[in-house]
C-alpha cells in the first residue's frame, strides 16, 4: 500500500452528498416547500378579494419560518444522522484514515445546503402558486407590484437565523442513535415557539429566531438574525470539537 495524502475536506463533502442519493432526506426537502406552495394556492382561491403580491409572498415565508422550517429541520437532521445510525456505520467511518471532524463537518454543510435548497425551492414555488391561483381564478389574481427581491432577502434572513436551530438539532440527532431525543427536542422547541410567539423571551428561543425576521421591529429582527448566525457558528464549532473526540460505544 503506497502512502497516500489525506483527502481534502471536499472529498468528505462529496461523499456525504452521494449518501443522500435516493434518500428520504431529499424527498423531505422537496415535499416541505411544495406543501406551503399548495397551501398558498388554495388559500388564495378561498379569498373574497384579491391579495397584494407582497402579502401573498410574505404569508408563504411566514408559514415557512413559523412552523414548516423548524419541523423540517427536526426531521431532516434526524434523517441525515440516521444515515449513519441506521446501518451502524460510525465505527467504520471513524476508523478511516481521515480527520474525524471532516465526517461531521460534511454533515453540517449538507444540512445547511439542503435547508438553503428548500428555501430556494420555496422562492420558486411560492410565486408560481400565486401566479397559478390568479390564472385559475382571475378575479382573485394578486395585485400590486411583483416585488421578488424583498421576498428573497427575507427568505435569506430566515435561513441565516435558522443556523442555531439547525446546529442544535443536528448535534442532538448525531449524538443519539434513537430518533426520539431529536424529535422530542424539535417538536418541543417548535411547540413553545408557536404558543409563545409574542413572548419577549421568545427571541432567545432558537426555534423562534427565524420567524422573528418578520417582526415589525427592525431591531428585534436584526438581533435575532445575529443571534441565529453567531450562535449557529458557535454551536457548529463546539459540535465538531466534541463529536470528533467522543468515543462511540455501541
Amino acid at each position: 500500500m503506497t502512502t497516500l495524502p489525506t483527502p481534502a475536506f471536499t472529498t468528505a463533502l462529496a461523499v456525504e452528498a452521494c449518501k443522500l442519493r435516493r434518500s428520504l432526506a431529499l424527498l423531505l426537502a422537496g415535499v416541505a416547500p411544495l406543501l406551503i406552495a399548495v397551501f398558498v394556492f388554495f388559500n388564495l382561491l378561498q379569498m373574497r378579494k384579491p391579495m397584494p403580491w407582497t402579502m401573498a409572498l410574505q404569508s408563504a415565508v411566514g408559514i415557512w419560518a413559523f412552523f414548516m422550517l423548524p419541523m423540517s429541520v427536526t426531521a431532516l437532521t434526524a434523517l441525515i444522522a440516521h444515515t449513519e445510525h441506521g446501518p451502524r456505520s460510525w465505527d467504520y467511518l471513524r476508523a478511516l484514515p481521515l480527520p474525524r471532524w471532516h465526517v461531521y463537518a460534511a454533515k453540517v454543510v449538507c444540512a445547511l445546503a439542503i435547508v438553503a435548497g428548500m428555501s430556494l425551492l420555496l422562492a420558486l414555488l411560492a410565486p408560481l402558486s400565486v401566479q397559478l391561483a390568479g390564472g385559475w381564478a382571475p378575479a382573485l389574481a394578486a395585485t400590486g407590484p411583483r416585488d421578488i427581491a424583498p421576498f428573497l432577502l427575507l427568505l435569506g434572513r430566515v435561513f441565516v437565523a435558522a443556523w442555531l436551530l439547525i446546529a442544535m438539532q443536528l448535534w442532538v440527532a448525531l449524538r443519539h442513535a434513537s430518533f426520539v431525543p431529536a424529535l422530542a427536542v424539535g417538536i418541543g422547541g417548535t411547540f413553545f415557539a408557536v404558543v409563545a410567539t409574542s413572548a419577549k423571551i421568545g427571541m432567545l428561543l432558537p426555534w423562534q429566531l427565524p420567524v422573528n425576521q418578520l417582526a415589525s421591529d427592525p431591531q428585534r429582527a436584526q438581533l435575532t438574525l445575529l443571534l441565529g448566525a453567531l450562535g449557529g457558528v458557535t454551536v457548529f464549532v463546539l459540535m465538531l470539537w466534541r463529536m470528533g473526540r467522543r468515543e462511540v460505544i455501541n
Binding site: L4, T11, R22, G86, S89, D91, P97
Partner: protein, 310 residues
C-alpha cells in the same frame, strides 16, 4: 512513537480498557507476526471486540500501548489506520446505494483510483452483484462486500470480525481459500476474530485466546498443539479392565464410550509410549481392535485455556 519491529504487524503492551467498574481488556500484550493469520478467540464478552476497537483507534486505552505496523495508534491514529482494512460486525453499508456505490464512497475517502473497486469485487467474487442495492443483499453478500471494502487499497493488515458470519458452506470455503492465500499473495497479515474454532484451525498460523479480558494463551498454533502432548484412541474388547490395567502401570488414560484414550506428555515419544501400552494390554489378554493417533484440536486447546476451571 515509531517502533521498528520488522517481524510484528501488531503489538500491544499492557493494553487495558475499563468500562466503569468492568475491566474489559486487562493488560493484554499480544504479538501478531507479519504475514501470519492470527486467530483471535474467546467467548462472547471476553474482550475481543474491545481489543479490535482499541487497535482501530475507536477507543482509547486506559493504560498500555498498541502499535500497528510499528506505528503507535494513540499518537498517530490516521497513519496507523492507513495500514489497516477492517471488516466489523456492523457493516455500516448504506442500503439506498448499490454495492459499487458503497465501495466508491470508501475509495474516495481513501483517495484511491477507481480501478480498485473492480479489483476487490473480482477478488471477492462480487462483481455480478455490485449494481444491486445493498438493501437487497443477503447477509453473506454483505459479508463479502465488507471484505471487499476492507481490501480497498491492499492494506498490509486486515482485521476481520467474524468474517464467515452468514456465509453458506460454499461461501465459507471460498473465504477460507481467500484468507489462506493472502499472506503469500499480498504479504497481508490477517487478524480473524471468530467463534468457529474449526474454521480458525484450518486457516490460522497463530492464535491468541482471551478469557475475561486477559490473553491467556498466544503463539504459533502448531507449536501450541505440540506442547500439549499426544493422544491415542484404542478400541479394546474390555475397556473397563484395560483402563484399570493402564492406570496401575502409570499411564494417563480415560474412557470414551468403548474406546480408551491415552495421553502422553510432550516429552514422551508417542511411538514408544503407544507400543508400551499396547504391549501391556496384549500381555494381559485384552483384545485391541484399533489404535488411532488423535490430533490435538484447537477446540481442546481453547477449552483448556478459555475455561481453565472446567
Amino acid at each position: 512513537m515509531l517502533r521498528t519491529h520488522p517481524t510484528l504487524a501488531i503489538e500491544t503492551q499492557g493494553l487495558t480498557r475499563r468500562f466503569g467498574q468492568q475491566l474489559a481488556v486487562d493488560g493484554i500484550s499480544m504479538h501478531v507476526p507479519a504475514r501470519s493469520i492470527y486467530g483471535f478467540l474467546g467467548r462472547n464478552g471476553a474482550g475481543k471486540t474491545t481489543t479490535i476497537k482499541l487497535l482501530l483507534g475507536l477507543l482509547q486505552a486506559d493504560a498500555g500501548c498498541a502499535w500497528v505496523a510499528g506505528i503507535d495508534i494513540a499518537q498517530h491514529r490516521q497513519a496507523a489506520a492507513r495500514k489497516i482494512g477492517a471488516l466489523l460486525e456492523a457493516h455500516g453499508f448504506y442500503g439506498n446505494l448499490s454495492g459499487r456505490e458503497n465501495l466508491d464512497l470508501c475509495r474516495r475517502l481513501l483517495g484511491l483510483p477507481t480501478s480498485e473497486i473492480d479489483r476487490v469485487l473480482d477478488v471477492t467474487d462480487m462483481a455480478a452483484h455490485a449494481r444491486k442495492r445493498v438493501a437487497d443483499f443477503s447477509l453473506g453478500m454483505r459479508q463479502r462486500l465488507g471484505l471487499a471494502r476492507a481490501m480497498l487499497g491492499a492494506p498490509p493488515i486486515l482485521m476481520l470480525d467474524e468474517p464467515t458470519n452468514g456465509l453458506d458452506p460454499d461461501g465459507i470455503a471460498d473465504m477460507r481459500t481467500l484468507l489462506r492465500a493472502l499472506p503469500e499473495r499480498a504479504g497481508t497479515t490477517v487478524l480473524v476474530s471468530s467463534h468457529l474454532l474449526g474454521e480458525v484451525e484450518q486457516i490460522a498460523t497463530h492464535i491468541g485466546i482471551l478469557n475475561q479480558g486477559r490473553l491467556v494463551l498466544e503463539g504459533a498454533l502448531a507449536a501450541l498443539k505440540a506442547e500439549v502432548g499426544h493422544e491415542v484412541a484404542l478400541a479394546v474388547g474390555d475397556p473397563e479392565r484395560a483402563c484399570a490395567l493402564a492406570h496401575a502401570k502409570g499411564f494417563a488414560v480415560s474412557r470414551d464410550a468403548d474406546a480408551l484414550i491415552a495421553r502422553f506428555a510432550a516429552s514422551e515419544n508417542p511411538r514408544d509410549a503407544t507400543a508400551a501400552l499396547t504391549r501391556l494390554l496384549c500381555l494381559e489378554g485384552v483384545d485391541i481392535h484399533a489404535v488411532t493417533p488423535r490430533q490435538h484440536s484447537l477446540e481442546a486447546l481453547y477449552h483448556r485455556n478459555a475455561h481453565p476451571a472446567q
